[in-house]
């Protein structure tokens, strides 16, 4: 529907914020906040100015004022009205169009590279299954997600029971966890450390505490951890295959 070539050319123009989701969010957010505050201040300021200027002060009045029982009418200032409408439309539409480029960038990014993890919400916690080429690797964790720094992490999010929403606020990533569906999103952390993921959709009694720890590790550290997990997972699965094969 959206031709790749147009999308690509818009993305390459340099106008469109790209980078980690933290970067694009803050760039766009601050522009919106700046312009929004400006527009709000101008409009409300203008309101207050008129409110003050035209307050009733007695005196003679040569305007034709509304009278009881007249057929409701009104008009005038059409030019001014459409001028202001036009101005506001230009601001709003160009802002949104500008962010649309970033939307295409963000949406096009999932799964292109990096680590893949399936996230499964349940009442009231999170399972993380590490994937390789869409297949389960057998590495999985509960309520703790370990990821390497400076690497794109692709999340495939679903739910085992009710509607949840998985989000890591500092990393500006969030998506719905819907039973029977999978939503895709991604993030990239640019510094190591611990972050917290929350559930953003009311899901029952334990909703307020449905958090997960996100541990961003150095690449090597992560690899060590992953390999050790992988080894034990393989041992286990080998064991279970053996057991099943009896």
């Amino acid at each position: 529907m959206i031709p790749d070539s147009t999308a690509a050319s818009v993305l390459q123009s340099g106008l469109v914020p790209q980078g980690t989701r933290v970067q694009v969010f803050s760039e766009i957010y601050w522009v919106f906040l700046g312009l929004g505050t400006l527009v709000g201040a101008v409009v409300i300021g203008y309101m207050l100015y008129n409110a003050y200027k035209y307050s009733y002060q007695g005196g003679v009045d040569e305007e034709d004022r509304p009278k009881l029982g007249e057929v409701p009418t009104g008009g005038g200032k059409g030019k001014k009205l459409f001028l202001s409408l036009g101005l506001s439309a230009i601001i709003v539409i160009s802002l949104i169009a500008w962010t649309y480029g970033t939307l295409l960038f963000v949406e096009g990014q999932t799964g292109e590279q990096g680590v893949d993890v399936e996230v499964e919400g349940y009442q009231f916690g999170w399972n993380f299954n590490y994937l390789d080429d869409g297949e389960y690797t057998g590495v999985n964790t509960t309520n703790t997600l370990r990821v390497p720094v400076d690497t794109q992490v692709n999340l495939y999010v679903t739910s085992a029971d009710v509607f949840h929403n998985f989000g890591i606020p500092e990393l500006r990533v969030k998506t719905d966890a819907i039973p029977g569906e999978t939503t895709e999103t991604w993030f990239e952390a640019s510094s190591t450390g611990n972050y917290t993921a929350h559930c953003y959709e009311l899901c029952g009694q334990g909703h307020s505490y449905m958090d997960a720890e996100i541990i961003v590790m150095e690449e090597e550290e992560y690899q060590d951890w992953y390999d050790s997990q992988n080894a034990s997972a393989n041992n286990e699965s080998a064991a279970s295959v053996a057991a099943a094969g009896v």
Binding site: N50, L68, G69, E181, L202
Partner: protein
């Protein structure tokens, strides 16, 4: 018309109307409780709405204070004033009550009181249905109240997301009762919508064309149109939900492909129009107040109206902006991002129009103007922050956070602020008393401070997820500020209520027109207006409002003898013709409301197909039976009651000239029924697509029994036509015979269906067998419900026809029933192929 025997026009300032003294309205005095139970007068009903809505404001407000108390600190598990489940209930019911049981009914109160006055109508088209919508509203509110005493109330948020909303995850009976409450509320809104649409289109004074309709009336007209369609969609959603909870269908089960997303579609298809439904009446009130208090006619009136119409239409095509994080595809996101931005533009125009109206004004800062001005300021802040949400990449981060909470409180409570402006503006009209101006201004200062202290910090604490009480310590300061603001806003509401209560008791008498530059017709009559509203026939034909003396009795209501009855298909035979009296009292709406509560409480005990064990189950079963019997009885009694109301079409009636009130009402109702069935059919189609269209096969093995039913229904449609033809030929026998045939054909349809179901059940295909089975049983079941209702009416019609009704030239009832019956037929024409063939 006033009735000299009864002190109805109390309040001292009522003008005596030109001499007429019909003993017609049977309305007890205002101090008597009975009056409020039986009244059908639009002004009384308006006051009932306002008072009840204020009660729910306090109720919802107390819940909000509980939430804010819990949010005072981030709570460790098990600490704080509320338990986790109590908190979830508080959050959910706060939202539900404020949105459904406070704001809209509050606006409905004003509309009831003011709109007929503004358009020059003596009352609404169907006064008893108006009372009925009030009593259904109250009934729904009582259900919500009762839900707290049945285990636990609903605890899954006001958006009722699936599958948390089904018994597997929320088993309490109280949750079912809450959903039932919403169903009844939808019914109330539909009845009210039909009534207002008919009234505003058909009962305007001569000269009051659509273009010159006052802006409050315009905003309300668009509100009820949006309500009619949006609430029908919600009704479909909550009926399906009820069926999942009570009967055990599996639409929203976690295992149903697409079930959860289906809910979000159904809910937000209603939910987005709802935000304008909430805001429009306030916008209309603000427009009136800006004009009156600035002494200017609104700038760009035509464009203001065009913008409102555009918003009302567009509001139905933006709903997926609440679903940007679900699994919907990028193309659809793009489309809905565009429509969302599109809908903000007409709003810009309206805001500018209001602002420019101030220019060169002589602005008086009375309390109503302070509130209206404040409301506009708040709305601008809310609108700007809404644009943030419209940018999908930003919404990805804001969704589910306090940013959304702050945004919608700024816009919605801006609407509340606008309605409070209306409350002060119309208070003298409605009570005949003046409020205390100083207290009013003081309350505004407290209100505006409290509002911003409460909601602005929520933007700054936007990192907090919604509906949690364990949040990050860095936000404590902002949340505490908000909690303080909540208390201050609460105090402002108390001040407002105190001011108005005190003024009702001890205020000075108000003049008919207390405001210098008001123009609309409500200010041209006494405060409060007499029961028949006007001292003569209102007309704008000369370009100015005049009350014409039509000579006959000198009374306003002697409107050429075209009084017609309201309500149902059943009541029309009476009162057509030459008697000049109109009625103002009926006990049956209240009775229907009462038995609705009883029925719903009884049925709420039904869970996934069975009642609880033992005494509890007995209680629920007994209550259900009692309720249903009471409902049938009171509906029949209402149908049989002689009740005369005003007929429209005497002045402006565009675009429904020549379509009688009752006929138009029926058509408007059917339009909402189209959306109701549309919701069910749309749900079935959606689930089928999610499942795989061609992998899904019809539940019945064979289309032939369905074809037979198609024949039966088509034939019964034909016999209804024959009944009408016979009535026109004044053949009593013909009418009775045709109707009896219709009845038998309908019974045949039901019997055929019953056999089909029994066979399917015996094969083990129950409602919960698969989602295919669920959609099949429920959708055709809804249709069957319509058939049964039709047969009950047919039985009544046969009885009446037997006694000689309809063949005396008054055959409209048959015609209107036919409209309904053919509609049921048409629906089947689509259900049959969908569920039996393809």
């Amino acid at each position: 018309m006033t009735d000299d025997n009864q002190p109805r026009t109390d309040g001292g300032t009522a003008t005596a109307l030109p001499g007429d003294s019909h003993d017609d309205d049977h309305l007890p005095p205002r101090w008597s409780l009975k009056r409020w139970l039986v009244t059908t007068n639009h002004k009384d009903v308006g006051l009932l709405y306002l008072a009840t809505a204020m009660f729910f404001l306090v109720f919802g407000g107390v819940l909000a204070l509980l939430i804010r108390a819990q949010m005072w600190s981030p709570r460790a598990p098990g600490t704080g004033v509320l338990s986790a489940m109590a908190y979830n209930q508080a959050v959910s019911l706060h939202g539900l009550i404020m949105v459904f049981w406070f704001i809209s009914p509050f606006a409905t109160g004003f509309a009831n009181y003011i709109v007929p006055l503004q358009i020059g109508a003596e009352d609404l088209a169907f006064p008893r249905l108006n009372a009925l919508s009030y009593w259904l509203y109250l009934a729904s509110g009582i259900l919500v109240f009762a839900s707290f005493f049945q285990g636990a109330s609903y605890a899954g948020g006001w958006t009722l997301y699936a599958p948390l909303n089904i018994p597997a995850f929320m088993p309490s009976i109280g949750a079912t009762t809450t959903v039932f409450g919403i169903v009844v509320f939808c019914a109330s809104v539909t009845v009210g919508g039909v009534n207002f649409i008919t009234t505003i289109h058909r009962m305007r004074a001569p000269g009051l064309t659509m273009r010159s309709l006052p802006l409050f009336t315009w905003s309300w007209l668009l509100t009820v149109w949006m309500m009619l369609l949006a609430f029908a969609a919600l009704l479909a959603a909550v009926m399906i939900l009820l069926s999942d909870r009570m009967l055990g269908t599996t639409y929203f089960a976690a295992t149903t492909a697409g079930g959860s997303v289906l809910w979000t579609h159904l809910f937000w298809f209603f939910g987005h129009p709802e935000v304008y439904i909430v805001f429009f009446p306030a916008l209309g009130a603000m427009a009136e107040i800006f004009q009156t208090f600035s002494g200017n006619r609104i700038v760009g009136r035509k464009w203001f109206i065009v913008s409102m119409v555009l918003v009302a239409l567009q509001s139905f095509i933006v709903w997926m902006h609440h679903m940007f994080l679900t699994s919907i595809n990028l193309e659809v996101k793009t489309l809905f991002m565009a429509t969302t931005i599109g809908i903000s533009l007409p709003f810009d125009l309206m805001v500018f129009a209001l602002i420019y109206t101030l220019i060169k004004g002589r602005i008086r800062w009375d309390t109503p103007m302070l509130y209206a001005f404040g409301a506009l300021v708040l709305f601008i802040v809310g609108g700007i922050t809404g644009v943030f949400l419209g940018a999908v990449v930003l919404d990805y981060e804001f969704r589910g956070t306090y940013w959304v909470v702050a945004h919608f409180h700024y816009v919605m409570v801006s609407g509340v602020t606008g309605l409070i402006a209306g409350l002060f503006y119309w208070f003298p009209k409605m009570t005949g008393k003046t409020y205390d101006e100083f207290l009013g201004k003081l309350s505004f200062a407290v209100y505006f401070t409290g509002f911003n202290l409460l909601y602005f910090p929520l933007f700054l604490a936007w990192g907090t997820p919604r509906r949690v009480f364990a949040y990050r310590p860095e936000y404590v300061g902002w949340h505490r500020l908000a909690s303080v603001g909540a208390v201050i806003l609460g105090i402002a509401f108390l001040l407002i209520i105190y001011n108005l209560a005190k003024s009702i008791v001890a205020g000075d008498d108000a003049a008919a027109n207390p405001w210098p530059y008001s123009t609309t017709a409500e200010w041209a009559v006494a405060s409060p207006p007499p029961i028949e509203n006007f001292p003569g026939k209102p007309s704008y034909a000369s370009g100015n409002l005049e009350f014409l003396d039509d000579g006959a009795t000198g009374a306003a209501a002697a409107d050429g003898g075209t009084a017609a009855t309201d309500g149902g298909h059943a009541a029309l035979e009476s009162g057509h013709g030459d008697d000049h009296h109109v009625d103002h009292a009926s006990l049956w709406p209240a009775a229907i409301g009462l038995f609705t509560v009883v029925t719903a409480i009884g049925l709420s005990g039904l869970q996934v197909g069975s009642y609880p064990e033992g005494l509890e189950g007995l209680f629920y079963q007994g209550t259900s039976v009692l309720g249903v019997l009471g409902l049938l009885g009171s509906i029949t009694a209402m149908g049989y009651e002689n009740f005369t109301a005003h007929e429209g079409g005497l002045g402006e009636a565009w675009p429904f000239e020549g379509v009688e009130n009752t006929k138009l009402g029926m058509w408007v109702f059917l339009a909402s029924d189209v959306v109701l069935f549309g919701g069910f059919i749309g749900a079935a189609i959606f689930l089928r697509i999610a499942y795989g269209w061609e992998a899904w096969h019809p539940i019945p093995h064979n289309p032939i029994p369905g074809l037979v039913n198609t024949y039966l229904l088509l034939t019964s449609s034909f016999t209804v036509i024959l009944a009408l033809v016979a009535a026109q030929k004044r053949s009593r026998k013909g009418v009775v015979a045709s109707l009896t045939l219709t009845f038998l054909l309908g019974l045949g349809f039901l019997a055929n269906k019953a056999i089909e179901w029994v066979v399917l059940f015996s094969e083990g295909t129950g409602l919960d067998a698969s989602v295919r089975a669920s959609t099949y049983y429920l959708t055709t079941g809804l249709h069957m419900g319509h058939v049964i209702a039709g047969l009950l009416i047919t039985a009544y019609l046969i009885w009446r026809a037997w006694n000689g009704a309809y063949t005396d030239g008054n055959d409209e009832t048959l015609e209107y029933f036919g409209l309904y019956w053919h509609f049921v037929d048409i629906v089947w024409l689509f259900l049959f192929p969908l569920f039996y063939i393809v």
